[in-house]
Symmetry: D2
Subunit: 346 residues, 4 copies
């Protein structure tokens, strides 16, 4: 049994961590951090937690927290963890960071896309990019996990086998991603009001979204060369779910079976990845509330391209679920512990 603290527990990703960890047989949540709701009952912030969580929200004292728990999850705005992390903390606890602070190895790229100075670049090298299906062995040995972004997880996992196997021209990749609104967070902004999002769909952050360099970096590793892609996020009137529809040029004549073989090579034994049956298109509803990533693809003989489709729940596999999966790996628990969630339908 380990103790966990959550800094940023009242955002949507933080709240999902609470939902998952409450039912994790080896974890006890000791600290509900929340700058916005200090001294308020957690259950008054999230009514669903009434009678399930009796705790009060605490301020963000990461140093104090490091003495009390075994693992800290930071579901905080960009720059927070980078500004407070120390060697001392890392010597005491494992840290799973759900922000972007340590995801990008080249600090100048981070500073350019995020527009803030990185306050502790010395830990970037050590941080392990927590995409479990790709970096499992490194994660097990890590002190600091850079938990991947929601769009990023969905985009990388959709293309990874095809890039790794050299089937597609990685520079031709176009990721057209559609996200539920929980991805926009719980901040009070006019653009995220019910009446603004409902009955509406739009692209946003076109060619400038911060998950772009993160996808590029990870797929560059797989490709063995630096690549550039197009990534276009869209806001969809639903709470949860990301669907990636991706496009790329085939480098060679490949059949359905060839591509399938690539996906199976990397994902066949993955508990949380489901390669759908031929011609079945992923639907975000099929993974809602679960840690699954569903994927499929179709080959277009006419244009010599592949269409790839991937779906996940942005607050589970795209955030809190993956964070728990990383924690399980680090502490030697069964990787799926606390994550055997059956998707909810409808």
């Amino acid at each position: 049994m380990i103790n966990a603290g959550i800094i940023g527990s009242t955002g949507y990703a933080g709240a999902e961590l609470v939902r998952l960890l409450l039912r994790h047989p080896e974890v006890n949540i000791k600290w509900y951090g929340s700058r916005s709701y200090i001294d308020q009952k957690y259950a008054s912030v999230y009514g669903n937690m009434f009678k399930l969580v009796e705790d009060i929200c605490s301020d963000d004292n990461i140093n104090a927290l490091a003495d009390e728990v075994d693992v800290i999850f930071t579901a905080t705005p960009q720059g927070y963890l980078a500004s407070v992390l120390t060697e001392d903390i890392l010597n005491k606890v494992k840290v799973v960071d759900l922000s972007a602070d340590y995801r990008i190895k080249d600090v100048s790229i981070y500073e350019k896309w995020y527009g803030i100075e990185h306050k502790s670049p010395q830990f970037i090298g050590e941080a392990v990019y927590g995409l479990c299906e790709v970096n499992r062995e490194d994660i097990k040995k890590a002190r600091l996990i850079a938990n991947p972004g929601c769009y990023t997880t969905c985009s990388i996992l959709s293309f990874y086998p095809l890039v790794k196997e050299g089937i597609i021209d990685a520079n031709s990749i176009i990721v057209d991603a559609k996200s539920g609104t929980s991805g926009a967070g719980r901040g009070a902004k006019v653009q995220n009001l019910y009446c603004e999002v409902n009955e509406n769909i739009k692209a946003y952050g076109v060619l400038t979204h911060r998950h772009t360099p993160e996808i590029e970096e990870q797929l560059s590793y797989a490709a063995g060369e630096d690549i550039n892609i197009i990534f276009t996020p869209h806001l969809v009137p639903m709470n949860r779910g990301i669907l990636v529809t991706g496009y790329a040029n085939l480098k060679k004549d490949v059949s359905y079976e060839d591509c399938l073989k690539a996906y199976e090579k990397y994902y066949k034994d993955e508990k949380f990845i489901r390669i759908l049956d031929k011609d079945v298109c992923p639907e975000t509803k099929w993974v809602e509330g679960s840690n699954y990533f569903d994927v499929n693809f179709k080959i277009d003989e006419r244009t010599k391209r592949v269409v790839v489709m991937g779906a996940l729940d942005n607050v589970v596999k795209g955030a809190a679920g993956q964070a728990v999966q990383n924690m399980n790996l680090i502490f030697g628990f069964e990787e799926s512990m606390g994550l055997d969630l059956v998707p909810m339908f409808p």
Copy 2:
């Protein structure tokens, strides 16, 4: 052709006024007031108005405005108009107030339910409650219209004929109202975020909602005695629409035909009120985007009660549409001018 100014043009009710007045053959909008968006293009606040409105948002100088226009619509927070209205303004322009400032005749009730001091009670007596189907003749002669609230319009029109004809015990009235989220306004509040409202329904303001005394006052006039009712509003995951389901005890044995006769007595010739066919339940979707109020009822022999159902679009008949209807009456235009909107389905 008259000139109109809108103070509070960037709230949802104000924006609906713009939508309606843009197509009104006798009105020219001269002033787009908005404290929050001063000097910004109106069309940058409401993208739907691109190429339709070229104007810039202005600050709220009601005195300057009174010199430029024939009618002022105030779609502003409670207390604003009461704090700036003067005899001089009313001598120059007609004012249609979409706030609650002049709706309640007893200033102590206003101050109790709204929790603010009324700054110009001297105009309360003169203000005409702008429920066109009930107060038509007074409206025609008014300088100052207290445009009814959305819940209020729906609740009063649902029960008015039954109360007026003494068919029900007005003190037994229970109004269970369900509203789309545009009724909550465009303010950036966590509770109105997409993810908080979507896939959710709740009551709010139970026994304390400010529309209660407004409904009570108007139905008291109809009843000829002071009455108390229960009013329970609910927030529904949809943009527009209010549905009232109302209950009351029958004072005497009445048939379906008796009740129907009561509704027809008051509503038969009303262009914007539709008494639905027997057993057809109103649906908010059937009035969306239009100035219609749909109504129907059922008599319960078992419990000697009547169930009344009424539906309207809260931003049209419940706000901007009714305001335009009032303006038409005041200026001698055809009452339905600019309001011949066909409900949109789906």
Copy 3:
């Protein structure tokens, strides 16, 4: 470890049984019955179950099934179970019926409200009405459970303590209920299409809904006399959730504390019932995906009435969750086994 069969496993309630039983530590699903999808893979009907359920849908042979399993769940249209149930079946297996066939003790009332002849009235007497919090001890000894309806569970639990304690006039009860659309089932009907339900709210089945006599019967037991109520269901544009807003006349002067005491008397130790803090209104989102029933109330001094609010997830506590709770009681498992679901938000 027991074996379970589900007849009607491809409706929404059946599918939720699958979701819950898949994670129940003492149950193995042996039979996925579905008349509409015979011989098709269950996971092709519900894509969320891909890789989780490998079974094929079977026809409804309840006699064969009775030899194979320990418990049969029937999530079937009204009249099905009544037409096939035999003493022989009940001697072999426990039956939890999610239809209305055995809920109403007076067969003439059943036949009047449902419009069909009851084919096996001989089992009505023995059937136990499976509202666990009320009939727990009888359930433990039952062979046949009449699992309560979704509206019914929410309505009865909302009012039960107040009726039982004689605080309200049970004949004055008005239940204004709002349901998500999964309650309408998975049948392909125009009125349940996305575009018909979305952005819309309506009452339906006013004064004629079949859950009315079921609520009346159960509350009559609590009241100790035959009562009549008004029950008005509404269709809300959301997937899951029922909210009941109820009204009743107080029989005596009672305080908030008096009422609270009544609720606590019956619900204090109930794991799945949460009496919310004073003035907090239940929201369906707070119970989504869980077996909780949330309740609260407010007393209106002005009209001497109480407003009661109750919320549950119609496919969990209102159907499949309660069915599993009943099964747990019958088989002597811990009552909450497999039901420790944390509500999902957002």
Copy 4:
């Protein structure tokens, strides 16, 4: 004043024709055709039309209809019009066909993608593809209009200027389209039920959707060569609206201004096309209920591609609105008559 008949008036596109034509100053609807609802009141099928339409639905006798009206709109399943159209009919009335029967010039392509035999290929040559902004002059002289599909209108108008001006490689075009659910029609299908569509997004008809050859044919004319594209439609949980996000390789170094010049060359004077300001992304909500098509684009220096975004209301500019626009052109009415609809927000 002309008379119009609508065959298929109870589908969503047919119903929108009714909404628009009811307010068209030069049109009188004489015939509400509907195979499914013969002899029923139109307003009982669409409750929003209560008191607005008193007519009864009639069977589809196009020959009888041709004697009574000046224009026939067919909002019917594929193959219907092709199976009944005759020279005699075309000599008597103008026909605006909202189905795909005459959209594709090469009958073998039609038969391949639609899987049905074309029963009257002799009219294909004469039919004018009713994309008003592209084929205006031909439309004015036409007897038979092939009204474009919703996806098609949005896709073609998004790319037309860039293809026509040779700025992009038309064979590299990828159209990722997102549609509201009204595009799926009013047929009672499980996959279009509220609970299946809500809180869900998916691609469908990947590489096989029937609008593909229609887009290809029209863009081939613009390109001056036969082209192949990728078109991926998605189903979005909203009623109305299509958003196209399109991608293509730039053939040459072009600036934002160069591209803008291309769009302005073709669309500057178009009343129903709005080229948005730099960096503003179209939102479907901004065109809801109106005949507008909004468009914008961004150039990606990193990958030498352009991202194009277009939005329209699928039942207005994507169906009924464009049909009325075509009718206006044919009969010499002002092109925007009856179509000056202000988009509704929220």
